[in-house]
Amino acid sequence: MRCLGGLLLGLAALATTLDAQQTIAERLSGRVSPEIAGLVQDLGGAALQRGLPADPLIQKAIEGNAKGVPEERIAAALRVVVTQLDTTAAALRNAGFENPLDTVEITAGAFAITAGLHGRDITALARTGRPTPDVIVGLRVAGTLAALGVPPAETVTLVSQTLRAGASPGDLLALPGRVQSEVARGATPAQAAAGLARAAAAQARHGPPPDHGHPSHPPAPPHP
């Protein structure tokens, strides 16, 4: 009886995988070569079995084809994406998240890793950012800050402090623009982020200023 149950579960898993691969094939139809489509189906199917999203793989394959990238390079990029998804999933589990992981969270974390963060940074942000919606926005914003050139340590500090200060998603999403403003005034991305993190920490200690969401004393990092 136990063998029969296991067999049925295995068949169900196989059917799910085949269905997922069919969906991937449909989304890639006419957008990539058969070779790349096959690779995405293989990698995507395996990713789905591990609870990872396949969408980043589909997007990367389509992007590579649209840009006229050679197939070998697209294949290499796809494998990097898989690694980033796995790294993010491991980082989230290290933060105490349990299976099944939220695929949107994983996608946001993989983006942050692409932008320059590490698995340990994802873990730190995930620990700070619960509940899940805050984690997702926090990871997206952290990736964006990293893309602006903010070093990982300053990125994690800024996003974590802002989350601890009880910031709204809108406040979080405004952080990259505020960093850009400081950089335009001559600060380095690290200086800008550090200044904003100090302001967020002060807000967490003393409560929000009258114009909630904007520190009463904006950071004025020194010119390099």
Binding site: G64, A66, K67, Q180, G186
Partner: protein
């Protein structure tokens, strides 16, 4: 009419290939000036059809208006356009309503000599022809306004169907193929 002939590295800044911090100290002021001119151009408000306004008003929803702006190559025409916009005293951040959950984003690229500019990204399955920008103002300015869902989007401009250009004023990441994708977080 003021004309500008920016240093090649400043043009790289506007192309998104460098950041301000990558510039040597002696070029940072010039880079900041170029970005300021670009920001001034971006103050032009978007005109939406009246019927759209009525529908949006009925929804009675406020929503963010996110702007993204770009320049491919800064030319003298950009300076002239910027000066014109400043002189006309256009509002800096117009607000409007949008369908539920969507965020209106304006894409701007200054591409002198371009015959066609499109934006391709995760929001249109990287279709290099699906979302064209329209020529505006000086003739070198290309603009498109899109409603996008909240989330993280990657994109690039496609000039004349062949050249992929990142947004110089947006954050950018390695695309895995040796180029850069611009990032939009809504």
């Amino acid at each position: 009419m003021t004309t500008h002939d920016f240093h090649p590295q400043v043009k790289q800044l506007l192309d998104g290939e460098l950041t301000l911090t990558d510039l040597p100290p002696e070029l940072r002021a010039e880079g900041e000036e170029a970005l300021r001119l670009l920001a001034a151009v971006d103050r032009e408000p978007v005109s939406l059809p009246a019927v759209t306004w009525r529908v949006m008003a009925a929804l009675e929803r406020k929503r963010q208006r996110r702007w993204t702006r770009a320049a491919w190559l800064l030319a003298p025409a950009l300076a002239a356009a910027a000066a014109l916009v400043v002189l006309l005293g256009r509002p800096s951040r117009p607000t409007a309503s949008a369908p539920t959950g969507m965020v209106t984003v304006r894409f701007v690229l200054v591409a002198p000599g371009a015959h066609q500019v499109c934006v391709a990204g995760t929001f249109n399955r990287w279709d290099p022809a699906a979302t064209p920008l329209v020529r505006s103002g000086s003739g070198d300015l290309w603009v498109a306004t899109l409603s996008l869902p909240p989330g993280q989007h990657q994109y690039a401009f496609v000039v004349d169907g062949a050249r992929w250009v990142p947004d110089p004023t947006a954050p950018a990441i390695d695309d895995g193929f040796g180029r850069r994708n611009s990032v939009l977080t809504l």
